[in-house]
Symmetry: C2
C-alpha cells in the first residue's frame, strides 16, 4: 500500500462524555459531566460529543443531555455535539444549542437490524429529514458508520460495503464520516484497506477513525490510518466506556494515548497531555474505575515514584 | 519512509519466564515455571527464554534456573535460552544444557553505568570471552540492546548510537540482536528510524523488536517494525513483567496481542492463540494478577458472555 505523508495537524473528537459514559454502568450526575467537559476544554480539546438525545428509557445515562448542554461554559472555537437518532432528537439538540449533531448507521445489515430495527438503506433514508432540517438551521451533521472492521453477528465486513454506507451519508450532507470499529477486532492492514475503499468515494479529509481498543490494536490502527491520510480521530478520555458486545472488555481508545502518539510523531493536536490526564483521573475517580489509558498509568506511576523518592 | 513488504513468517521469542517473571513481585515456585513453559510449548511457542544465570542475591526469582532447565521437557525444534551476564553465568547455562544464551548491553551510557556498572564499550569487551566460549561449545548467542528508544536517565537516544551497539554485538558473533524499548516510550516513527539505522550495519533478518507496552504503543511499534522488515519479536505471555523504572506500569507487550496481530495480518507464527491464552491465564492465576493482554481479556469476556447466555 502506498504510504501518504502524515497530516501535520490532527483533530481529536472527544467522545467520552457520550460514547464513553453511555457504556459505563455507574450513573454520573449532571454536575460531574459538566465538570468533566470543562476540564476537557481547559486541556485544549475543541470538539466534544457531549450528549445523546435518545430515549432515556434505553439510555438512562444520557437523560440529562439538555441540562449538560445548558450548564457547560461555551467557548469560541469549541464545538459541542450530540448524537440524534431522529427528528425529535434533533429538535432537542437544536433547543439545547448544539453546535453540531451526529447520526449513525451501520456497515452490517444484521447489526443495523438488531441495533436500530431497520435495514442500512432504511436507516439512511430515515436520516434524510434530520439532515435537511439540521442544515437548514445551520447545524453541521456528522455521520457515524459502525462495525466497519467486523460485526458481532456477521463477522467480516466488505470494505466496499463500508464505502457504500459512508458515501451514502456523505452525499446526503454529512460533512464528516466517522468510521467505527465498534467491536475492536480490526488490525492495521484491514483498517487501511477499509479506509482506502472509503477514500474513493469520500474525501479522506472528511473521514475520521473511531477505534475501540478491545484487543489492544487501537493505537496501531490509528497509526495505520494516519499513514492512509486520516487526520481526525474519535477517542474517549481515560478510555471510559466499554464494548456493549463484550462486557468487561476495553472500549474506546483513550484520548491520552492518541495524544501521546501524535505528540511523539510531531503532529499537532492542540491538547495539553498533563491537563488531559488530570481530566481522565477526575472521571475515573467519579466512575470508581481504573483508567484504561496506559499513558495515564505510566505518568501516575512516575509521579508516585518521584513522590516516594522525595519523602 | 519506504514500506517494505511484510515478512510472511514471524518468530516469537517468549520472554515471559525470564524477563516477565524477573520483574514480578510474587515468587513463583519452580514447578509453576516448569508448568508454564510446558504450556507455552504445547501452544506452539518454539523459542523460550527460560532462565537467567545472574546473582540470586540481585534476582531471587531467577535463582532456580538450573532446576527449571533440568525439569522441563525438551522438544525437537524448541529452543530454550538463558540470560548470562558473564562467563560464570555461561558455564551454568552450559551445564543446564541451554540451547542458546543471551548477553545484554545498553544503548545509553548512563543506563549502562547504573545497570551493569561499566561503559557500553567495556560491557561489549566483557562479553568477548563469553561469546568465544559459547560459540566454541556450539551454543548460539543472542544480544540484547536496551534503551533503544529512550533512557530513564538520558532521555532520547540517537539511532546511530543504537546501531553502533547493535553492530558491535553482531560483529562479535551474536547471531540475533534484540532491540529493546526498555521504558516503553517509543512510538512507530522513531522505532522505524532506529531500526533503519541498525539495518545499515546488521542484516534486518538478524534484528528483533522488543517492545514494552508502558504507554500502550507496543503493538503499533510491532506493526511499524514489520513495515521495516523485522520478523522477530520478543513478548511475554499475559504481558507479565513490568517496567522496573516505572513501578505499576505495564511491561513487555503481551504475546497474545502480538500473535493476534500477526494472525490478522496473515503472518504465520506457529502459535495457537487459544492455547496461548490458557497458558497466560495459568500464570496470571499463579501471580494473582489480571492479564495485561487485551486479546486475552476480550476472549475471556466473550466466553463469560457465552456461558451466561447458555445458563
Amino acid at each position: 500500500m502506498p504510504e501518504k505523508s502524515f497530516p501535520t495537524t490532527v483533530k481529536i473528537v472527544e467522545v467520552g462524555p457520550r460514547d464513553g459514559l453511555q457504556n459505563e454502568p455507574t450513573f454520573v450526575p449532571t454536575a460531574m459531566k459538566v465538570e468533566l467537559i470543562g476540564r476537557l476544554v481547559r486541556a485544549g480539546v475543541t470538539t466534544i460529543e457531549a450528549a445523546a438525545f435518545v430515549s432515556p428509557k434505553w439510555v438512562p445515562q444520557m437523560a440529562d443531555g439538555f441540562q449538560v448542554l445548558r450548564e457547560i461554559d461555551r467557548h469560541q472555537g469549541v464545538v459541542f455535539s450530540a448524537l440524534v437518532p431522529n427528528l425529535k432528537g434533533l429538535e432537542a439538540a437544536l433547543e439545547a444549542k448544539c453546535d453540531e449533531v451526529a447520526v449513525f448507521a451501520a456497515a452490517s445489515e444484521t447489526f443495523s437490524q438488531k441495533n436500530i430495527n431497520c435495514s442500512i438503506a432504511e436507516s439512511i433514508d430515515r436520516f434524510a429529514p434530520v439532515l435537511e432540517r439540521a442544515l437548514r438551521e445551520g447545524v453541521r451533521v456528522r455521520g457515524y458508520v459502525s462495525c466497519v472492521l467486523g460485526c458481532p453477528f456477521d463477522g467480516e465486513i466488505d470494505p466496499h460495503q463500508v464505502a457504500l454506507v459512508a458515501s451514502g451519508l456523505y452525499q446526503m450532507g454529512c460533512y464528516e464520516i466517522s468510521l467505527g470499529d465498534t467491536i475492536g477486532t480490526g488490525t492495521p492492514l484491514n483498517a487501511r484497506r477499509m479506509i482506502e475503499a472509503c477514500a474513493k468515494d469520500v474525501p479522506v479529509s472528511a473521514l475520521a477513525g473511531h477505534f475501540h481498543d478491545t484487543r489492544g490494536m487501537a493505537i496501531a490502527n490509528v497509526y495505520a490510518a494516519l499513514q492512509s491520510g486520516i487526520a481526525i480521530f474519535d477517542s474517549s478520555v481515560s478510555g471510559i466506556g466499554g464494548c456493549p458486545y463484550s462486557p468487561g472488555a476495553t472500549g474506546n481508545v483513550a484520548t491520552e494515548d492518541v495524544v501521546y502518539l501524535c505528540d511523539e510523531l510531531g503532529l499537532t493536536t492542540g491538547v495539553n497531555l498533563p491537563a488531559l490526564v488530570e481530566a481522565g483521573e477526575f472521571i475515573s475517580t467519579v466512575l470508581g474505575r481504573e483508567t484504561s489509558s496506559r499513558v495515564a498509568r505510566a505518568m501516575a506511576a512516575r509521579r508516585a515514584r518521584a513522590a516516594s523518592s522525595h519523602s
